[in-house]
């Protein structure tokens, strides 16, 4: 069918608008990169937008020369790895059990999980709980309390429900137990959804900062997000010297850049998984 004139105009305008939206979305990233590589004079004069002016990389040396930065970066890697592993185990076994229609009491178990999405204990009771468990300044305060995301659980459960039942029945006849079926049949065939969940959990834990602020009182235990947050807050105070002000803007940009780097690098590879993964969970209706 040929397009009317009005529709052609609309399509062009639409494409231009979407290009503009893409630019606006990318702008803050480009700006951070530009500031990170710019020399202090240009930043201070308010001239840096998306192109680095007065190319300079000395700030990278300043940030990377701080042992605490590396220490906290290492903490982030450790917390993210451990937390993602724990989360994946708990979410997978929970989702798999809940996906079986023959499970008596299934509606009840799903119900008590879903209810926690609408009503939560609140920050103070959680704080009191973690403190009385004696988990202050331990990795457990960060990796355990948020181990199961109900959203991820429901996506995985929906995925397992779509699984052909005949396959599992055949495996059962061949003598596999529930554990064997899960480990040897279901999991190897669930790579897409597992990759999606790993990505979701890993990104969440990489980005998290607030639990660390609540439960970690020693700087050497902070994740890098808290390092960055302290940097942002400290230099939000007016500095005495113009020099201090300049370095602050630069250092902040470099630290931001190094903090998001893993996510931005992984993003293109992993995003094809999460789109199909979320679709699996959501298109079912």
């Amino acid at each position: 069918m040929r397009d009317s004139r009005g529709y052609t105009v609309f399509r062009v305008v639409n494409a231009v608008l979407i290009l503009a939206i893409c630019f606006v979305t990318l702008y803050p990233f480009l700006n951070v990169v530009a500031v990170a590589f710019s020399s202090q004079g240009y930043i201070n004069a308010g001239q840096v937008s998306v192109i680095p002016l007065g190319f300079n990389v000395t700030t990278f040396g300043i940030v990377m020369g701080d042992p605490m930065f590396w220490r906290n970066y290492g903490n982030t890697i450790l917390y993210t790895t451990v937390a993602t592993a724990i989360s994946m185990v708990l979410t997978t076994i929970f989702a798999y059990a809940l996906s079986k229609k023959r499970l008596k009491g299934r509606a009840f178990f799903v119900g008590i999980a879903v209810f926690t999405m609408f009503f939560a204990g609140g920050i103070i009771p959680n704080y009191v709980l973690i403190n009385s468990l004696g988990w202050r300044n331990t990795i457990w305060a960060i990796v355990i309390p948020n181990a199961i995301s109900i959203f991820n659980l429901l996506v995985m459960k929906a995925f397992f429900e779509n699984f052909p039942e005949e396959l599992e029945e055949a495996a059962a006849i061949d003598g596999l137990t529930t554990y064997g079926i899960l480990w040897r049949i279901v999991l190897p065939l669930s790579k897409a959804v597992i990759a999606t969940m790993v990505l979701f959990y890993a990104v969440t834990f990489w980005n998290s900062w607030f639990s660390a602020v609540l439960y970690m009182s020693k700087p050497e235990l902070y994740p890098v997000t808290v390092y960055l947050r302290n940097l942002l807050l400290s230099s939000a105070q007016p500095q005495d010297s113009a020099e201090g002000l300049q370095i602050a803007a630069n250092v902040k940009a470099v630290t931001m850049l190094l903090t998001v780097l893993p996510i931005v690098c992984l993003y293109p590879f992993l995003q094809k998984y999460f789109v199909s993964g979320v679709m699996l969970g959501s298109v079912k209706a």
Binding site: S4, F10, R11, I18, I21, C22, T25, L26, P28, N31, V32, G46, S49, L90, Y96, A97, L98, K100, K101, L103, K104, V110, G111, I112, T116, M117, F118, F119, A120, G122, I123, I124, P125, N126, Y127, L129, P145, A147, I148, F151, L154, V155, E161, N162, T177, Y179, N207, W209, T225, L228, R229, A249, T259, V260, V264, V278, G281, S282, V283, A285
Partner: protein, 341 residues
């Protein structure tokens, strides 16, 4: 917020109750609960456990997790009614009734943060809710699949950023030497220190939320769009509907259940304004418009150690949220027939 919203769609077309949400995958097998032809004898817990003990063993750890880290803190809300002493019982030491509730009802600061929360939440709801729908429709009109994919990838990206990074970017953009002031300067204005001005906090906050959430919000609408039967468009075309009419009469009704479900969820969570972002962006100078319930209870609770008082405030907020989501769901079920459960 979007993580909660995503779930809804799984059940959008299942009008049944809590049990119904589990049955989504089994359209072919029909209603599974009332009829169980092969075995007329009722399945007792004893036989169920005996037959499926391995399956139940998988439930143990997750249920312990929920019990300890979700339900125990819920029970811990009891310290809103009891006086808590640091180092004492985690459920408090003695009953004080509604003492702490009366305290915040009579606290002018509480009412200021309450108002701020409602204004900020309402602004986000009203301004941000329609945008993903519009963007999804725009993306849907793109002819080039490649361009569409790239545009989507770019628009999702901010969703994966830590709120600390977002706050850092916001502070950089609105700083006196940042991009916003470069534009102000180019237009002949005088630079403003935006983050220090209470009247600028809301625009800054809402636009950063738009930037971070809109692209990701389209994912569900785009998923819903793919489920619309192409024959409907065919039929509309034969009836003489142009592009606009097709959008109005086929596309929008097609995604209406998704819109309703997401609206319910957004209404339910509209008081839980992104607390972490406010915590990072507020400062003593913009406090009068930036301070919200959550930051207030963080300050008085964790900061000053008034645990019972802060718990009372938090419980009040959580109950309003629960009430909102329940009523939105009920109204929607009455009016549109679509609901979460």
């Amino acid at each position: 917020m979007s993580t909660t919203t995503n779930v809804a769609i799984v059940d959008a077309a299942t009008p049944a109750g809590g049990a119904g949400r589990a049955e989504t995958g089994s359209a072919a097998s029909g209603p599974s609960k009332p009829k169980r032809p092969p075995r007329p004898a009722k399945l007792t817990w004893r036989t169920a456990l005996k037959r499926d003990w391995r399956l139940y063993s998988l439930l143990v750890l997750p249920l312990v997790f929920l019990l300890v880290f979700r339900y125990l803190p819920m029970a811990g809300n009891i310290i809103a009614f009891r006086r808590y002493r640091p180092g004492g019982n985690i459920f408090g030491d003695e009953w004080v009734g509604f003492h702490y509730f009366e305290m915040f009802i009579n606290d002018p600061t509480f009412w200021r943060v309450f108002t701020n929360t409602i204004i900020l939440g309402a602004l986000c709801l009203v301004l941000i809710f329609p945008l993903p729908i519009i963007l999804a429709l725009m993306l849907n009109e793109l002819r080039s699949a490649k361009f569409k994919r790239i545009a989507q990838s770019i628009s999702y990206l901010p969703h994966f950023m830590s709120v600390v990074i977002v706050a850092g970017m916001v502070l950089q953009l609105v700083s006196t030497r940042g991009t916003v002031n470069q534009i102000v300067d180019a237009l002949g204005g005088t630079p403003i220190d935006f983050i220090q001005k209470p009247e600028w906090f809301r625009p800054i906050f809402v636009s950063s939320e738009v930037w971070q959430t809109v692209g990701w919000g389209t994912i569900l609408y785009l998923a819903a769009l793919t489920t619309i039967d192409p024959q409907l468009y065919e039929a509309a075309r034969i009836d003489g509907a142009g592009r606009w009419k097709q959008t109005w009469h086929v596309t929008l009704p097609g995604i209406a259940p998704t819109i309703v479900v997401l609206l319910i969820l957004n209404i339910g969570t509209f008081l839980s304004v992104s607390f972490e972002k406010v915590l990072l962006l507020y400062n003593p100078l913009n406090l009068s418009s930036a301070d919200i319930i959550a930051t207030y209870l963080y300050r008085v609770g964790i900061g000053s150690g008034s645990f019972s008082y802060a718990t009372a405030v938090g419980l009040f907020e959580a109950l309003i949220g629960l009430f909102l989501v329940l009523s939105a769901n009920l109204i929607s079920r009455r009016v549109t027939g679509a609901s979460l459960w």
